[in-house]
Symmetry: C2
Amino acid sequence: MVDFTFRNSCEIVFGRDTECQVGALVKKYGGRKVLLHYGGGSIKKSGLYDRVTEALRREGILFEELGGVQPNPVWSLVLEGVSMCRERGLDFILAVGGGSVIDSAKAIATKLVYDGDLWADCFIGLKKVTNALPVGTVLTIPAAGSEMSESMVITREEVGFKAGAGGQAIIPVFSILNPVLTYTLPPYQVACGAADMLAHMMERYFTQVRHVTVSDRMLEGAMKSVVKLAPLAQRQPENYDIRAELMWAGTVAHNNFLGCGRIGDWASHGMEHQLSALYGIAHGAGLAIVIPAWMKYVCESDMARFARFATHVMDIDPEGKQEHAVVAEGISALEAFYAEIGLPTRFSEAGIPSDHVDELSRMACIKGPVGRFQPLEEEDIKAIYKLAL
Amino acid sequence: MVDFTFRNSCEIVFGRDTECQVGALVKKYGGRKVLLHYGGGSIKKSGLYDRVTEALRREGILFEELGGVQPNPVWSLVLEGVSMCRERGLDFILAVGGGSVIDSAKAIATKLVYDGDLWADCFIGLKKVTNALPVGTVLTIPAAGSEMSESMVITREEVGFKAGAGGQAIIPVFSILNPVLTYTLPPYQVACGAADMLAHMMERYFTQVRHVTVSDRMLEGAMKSVVKLAPLAQRQPENYDIRAELMWAGTVAHNNFLGCGRIGDWASHGMEHQLSALYGIAHGAGLAIVIPAWMKYVCESDMARFARFATHVMDIDPEGKQEHAVVAEGISALEAFYAEIGLPTRFSEAGIPSDHVDELSRMACIKGPVGRFQPLEEEDIKAIYKLAL
């Protein structure tokens, strides 16, 4: 185990009808004039918007609205949010939506109080965010784990570049998780969400740090659960228990409790961000394309760990097989899982052209080599993209 | 899954030499005049006392001392601590020690600001603690998990009665975990600690709540790790990695992250508290006596779960066996594990007389039936104690 500090003070309020507590929670955490931030119109159609605004009014909380967050949230809308907060003296950002809405809210909350060039320092540079307005969330899509994480990912649309930043200051002060709100998610979004949460655990699981068996075993258990739950959630969209478990798994995957004492990899996220920034595909779909290729490219640096993943997560029976065969079966089983839930595992299946691999590779390592499990230079990244064509 | 709220804002600072950060951490969390609370003289012999006080002085933090916490910490010392804090205007309780010292510190921090009869309301009654002075800890014994938990257990020595209370307000603001500090723990204390952390996970694992597979799998993984790590820590006391993993497991076991969405049992803790209050045995030893007997008594109410425990935690091969045989083998393997690490599993092995079972049983359910997995009345408790004679 490596030395670590851990602190995550987000309050999770989990269960049916919990969105009705949002006014009381905003008040508890000091919000008086709220920026209500959301995506398209789905929260209005579903009635969630009405329940949330009613709960705010009941507690006498004023709010202004900024909708329109797109998947892969963009910097220009962040700037718009910042202006609104400044002009109207807002003191709390309430995100109602999935990871994109929450990330956009976190970026507004940070940019508003940041003295300097936030993009250059924290998204391109490696500086941690240390101050932000409080953010609360009502989660509608179990996927990104942003509801309890210290990270955010934003796209600069004018240059087609997606980058992440983070720090304890942007962990939401509360997050409301009502599994019923996820009943209407279409199967493809369920799949993308499952791939995202699985990836958050894989990025932590594949580490060169030794003696992390306690979190190894917890990660294996949680990953295996996601593999079992995702197809069930697609087949039984209104099964509360399955939705609840999958929703909680998404939070567990990324609140970093399972990353304590480990050094995560995060190369796959780095390589995926270029795909979704340039081609607009969903983050989860991009991960399903990149991760199997990454596994094939790097597995030899720790075959035993990849074999454990195969047996303990993907249920491969290792009896009488050589290690490399177990590893290969594990990767195939992961690809089959992605395919089963309807995700692409190749550029071609996602309609991504194969002739920009050089440019993608250059962009992916613009901050330097990516990944800690096996640091990848531009040539490595190119080889991995090519395995995924 | 059942509805839940979860918030645990304790900052964990984990690694070598981390106790030298204690002054800065006390300052960060607002402490200026500290009650330094500890047990016997071991922290002076080991040099830990000097490092902690030096770190406090370096930050200009004043402190007064109160040592003398015994295993199974007592109410009278709590009252002494409260008086000291009042007389000298102390504003922060720093616990340097194991679970007993931390629980004593939590009780002082609570009693000091409680308006009313704390013992009657929160230890005998079921009222939650909602306010307390900040507590920080430097952990020396991985066991109780009190360093990141919202519970405390105190003994009224004049009546030989041990009781627990809790609430978010007593979660320490920070806890320093340096595995090196645990190198000198004698094997028996390692064993008691492992039994305690395992019990914290078992109390959460054995639930009647359905559809909790994500935390089921994480609990199984973490429990299995403890079973593997404890004997290794006894045999290789100065192996940093093993000590580190066991120390982190103790925190994981009781910070309630793994209890989210579940209803824990806690009958075994209730039954054990009477043994340690009356006979002064270590809590972990008492648990090793009570838990196998409890398992034998209640397992029929969910054989499938006990069989999973047998196969996924105790490594019993279920191939070709009937479920009840697998369950029985699992319980035997747990008893063998306790015996291997040097713990008693019977009253007789711990020198506890067999003729006070009636009185013990009456006391154990003085607040009402104990346990949520299968609520136990006085007659059930008596039967369980008798299975453990």
